[in-house]
């Protein structure tokens, strides 16, 4: 599991809505970037093109056709089936993330059109427990796939996750099977599913629905893999090769279809959906 990064950066990293920082330092080129400029540029560094993590609302706004989005998530709420407690009770962790993000769990999305193609778009929220997949994320993805299949929509999922959520233990693990199997509803109806991997996409999320799309796109420089780099380093006791587990590395190894910069993401996605979705195929784009 690549959850080692989840909780560590919580306090040291900004980006929370409650900390209105005006300037951000780009972790890649170290330039000081004015936050407003960054936001206007879809959270991509204007100096070097580094892709910052992006909020789920902004993500949906960027990908859905204007004024077509209608939220379907938000009614599924997490429980604490194991009454899990580590250094903090899980129930308290959940409340804290719910307050911080204003949403019940780590996923947001709904119906919309993308380039005119009827779609169901889901975005994982890294700001909520590192985008980890517990029962709610699994349930929303399964429902999303089922609804898309029932309504003839394409499914698009933007992954941003450290993997399965430890605090729901075996139940989180089972979400990998649940989400994977739900995708077959789309297969049966010949409806397309596009997976967009953003930074990071690791662990049980990569090893289930995220890797099983008709087309997989990744944002530049995203960490993508099964095990987290720290775990691998501990296992092999060697430094990892430069660029290991980054989007470009995975493209080279044949695991992705394309690495697509955020500025082109909407256009590329619309093109693919237009070619795959029955409505787009019929309409021939005219």
């Amino acid at each position: 599991m690549a959850l080692d990064r989840l909780f560590r950066r919580r306090r040291t990293r900004g980006g929370g809505r409650d900390v209105p920082e005006l300037w951000l330092k780009c972790p890649s080129c170290e330039a000081q970037v004015y936050k407003k400029d960054l936001e206007a540029n879809f959270m991509v560094c204007p100096q070097c093109g580094h892709h910052f993590r992006m909020g789920v609302r902004e993500r949906v706004q960027m990908l859905a056709d204007e004024d077509t989005f209608s939220e379907t998530t938000g009614r599924v709420h997490p429980q604490d089936p194991l009454r899990f407690s580590d250094t903090e009770p899980y129930s308290e962790r959940l409340s804290r993330y719910q307050q911080k993000t204003g949403r019940p769990d780590a996923i947001y999305g709904g119906t919309c059109t993308i380039g005119g193609v009827p779609s169901l778009l889901l975005a994982m929220d890294y700001a909520f427990a590192g985008g980890s997949m517990g029962s709610v994320v699994g349930e929303e993805i399964a429902r999303g796939a089922e609804q898309a299949a029932a309504e003839g929509r394409a499914l698009v999922i933007v992954a941003a996750s450290g993997g399965a959520r430890m605090q729901e233990a075996a139940l989180s693990l089972m979400q990998m099977a649940k989400t994977t199997m739900a995708l077959d509803r789309l297969w049966e109806k010949r409806l397309p599913y596009v997976s967009i991997m953003s930074d990071p996409t690791t662990g049980g999320v990569t090893a289930s629905f995220a890797a099983l799309a008709d087309v997989i796109l990744a944002e530049p420089g995203a960490l993508i893999g099964f095990a987290g780099p720290r775990v691998i380093k501990q296992t092999i006791r060697q430094d990892l090769p430069e660029g290991f587990q980054r989007s470009e590395f995975l493209l080279q190894h044949g695991m992705l279809d394309r690495v697509t910069p955020r500025s082109e993401l909407k256009a590329v996605l619309a093109q693919i959906l237009g070619l795959l979705h029955p409505e787009g195929v019929r309409n021939d784009g005219a």
Binding site: P81, T87, A164, M166, Q175, T180, M181, D184, A211, H253
Partner: protein
């Protein structure tokens, strides 16, 4: 090698053995004394095993002498023939696969394989598969489907191997594909957690119509050690993590993650493997028989229902 909490049992067993030998050699009748001690032994076993902590169960799940996949195919199945290779890159010794007979009928069997010695364990990579292992497993799923044979998987892995080569060859991709492939089987599928059920590397061959677990096995999203290292930032808190993860057979039965717990009589499968395997054989026979009545479509629907229901959520009514 015995675990610390088993010491009293081992000592009592030794005394019974000594008494027997003494009685035999001196030709005296000590049967009353022996019977009394045997009663005491049974009570002691019940006491100790009834009150085991989750962490102690994890230790049992890893105990040397526990039956591995190769023991199961030899003792529970007949006519086993191992088949090798993923037809793409290599053969992965961490996963064993092949054809066998169960109660006279052909079945396909796939399982993680740990070694019994250090040398063997290095060869088997401690039961941690590379992508090739899962590709081999998928090949075998194809074969089960093609010939209409039941598919039985045996889970015993700390997890899929976290290494550079495994990542380069798409560890996450093959695990996802294997979950999907097993979910699509049109034949009865039964998964048995034999020892360790570590995360996605275990689930990859765990998508059964029925999921069974040995009494002293564990199954979770992460090992207690790794969980402790991440959440407590201290791998030494594994004991606490094991408690929190609720990863034992009985926990999982309660959570609905497994359908049936296979008893390990007489103090654990590592001490009495044959008794545990007889229990496993009986459980497998019953479960397979129950599934034989279902057609391909029903098996698919049954499996989807099973996994679709997993999780704990509260859903607000649409408003």
């Amino acid at each position: 090698m015995a675990l610390e909490f088993e010491q009293p049992i081992i000592e009592l067993e030794a005394r019974i053995r000594e008494l027997r030998e003494y009685a035999d050699s001196k030709d005296v009748d000590l049967s009353d004394e022996i019977a009394l001690l045997e009663q005491k032994l049974e009570k002691l076993q019940k006491e100790i095993f009834g009150g085991l902590s989750r962490w102690q169960r994890v230790q049992l799940a890893r105990a040397p002498g526990r039956p591995t996949t190769l023991d199961v195919v030899e003792k529970v199945f007949a006519d086993f023939i191992e088949l090798h290779g993923d037809r793409t890159f290599a053969d992965d010794p961490a996963i064993v696969a092949g054809l066998a007979r169960f109660r006279g009928k052909s079945v396909v069997v796939v399982g993680h394989q740990k070694g019994k010695t250090t040398k063997e364990n290095i060869h088997r990579n401690f039961g941690m598969p590379h992508p090739e292992g899962y590709r081999k497993a998928m090949r075998m799923m194809d074969m089960a489907d093609r010939f209409g044979f039941p598919f039985v998987s045996l889970i015993d892995t700390p997890g899929a191997y976290p290494g550079v080569s495994a990542e380069e060859r798409g560890q996450a991709w093959v695990i996802a594909q294997s979950i999907q492939r097993m979910g699509r089987l049109r034949v009865p599928a039964i998964a048995v957690v034999l020892g360790e059920g570590g995360s996605g590397g275990a689930l990859a061959i765990g998508v059964g119509n029925r999921v069974l677990i040995m009494e002293n096995a564990w199954y979770s999203v992460i090992s207690p050690e790794s969980c402790a290292a991440i959440l407590w930032r201290d791998a030494a808190q594994a004991e606490e993590a094991a408690e929190a993860l609720k990863l034992t057979a009985h926990d999982l039965r309660e959570l609905g993650v497994v359908d049936r717990v296979v008893p390990e009589p007489g103090g654990g499968a590592h001490r009495h493997p044959d008794r545990a395997l007889r229990e496993l054989e009986a459980a497998l026979a019953e479960e397979l028989e129950g599934l034989e009545a279902l057609g391909p479509g029903e098996l698919l629907a049954d499996r989807y229902r099973r996994f679709r229901a997993m999780g704990a959520v509260k859903i607000e009514p649409a408003g």
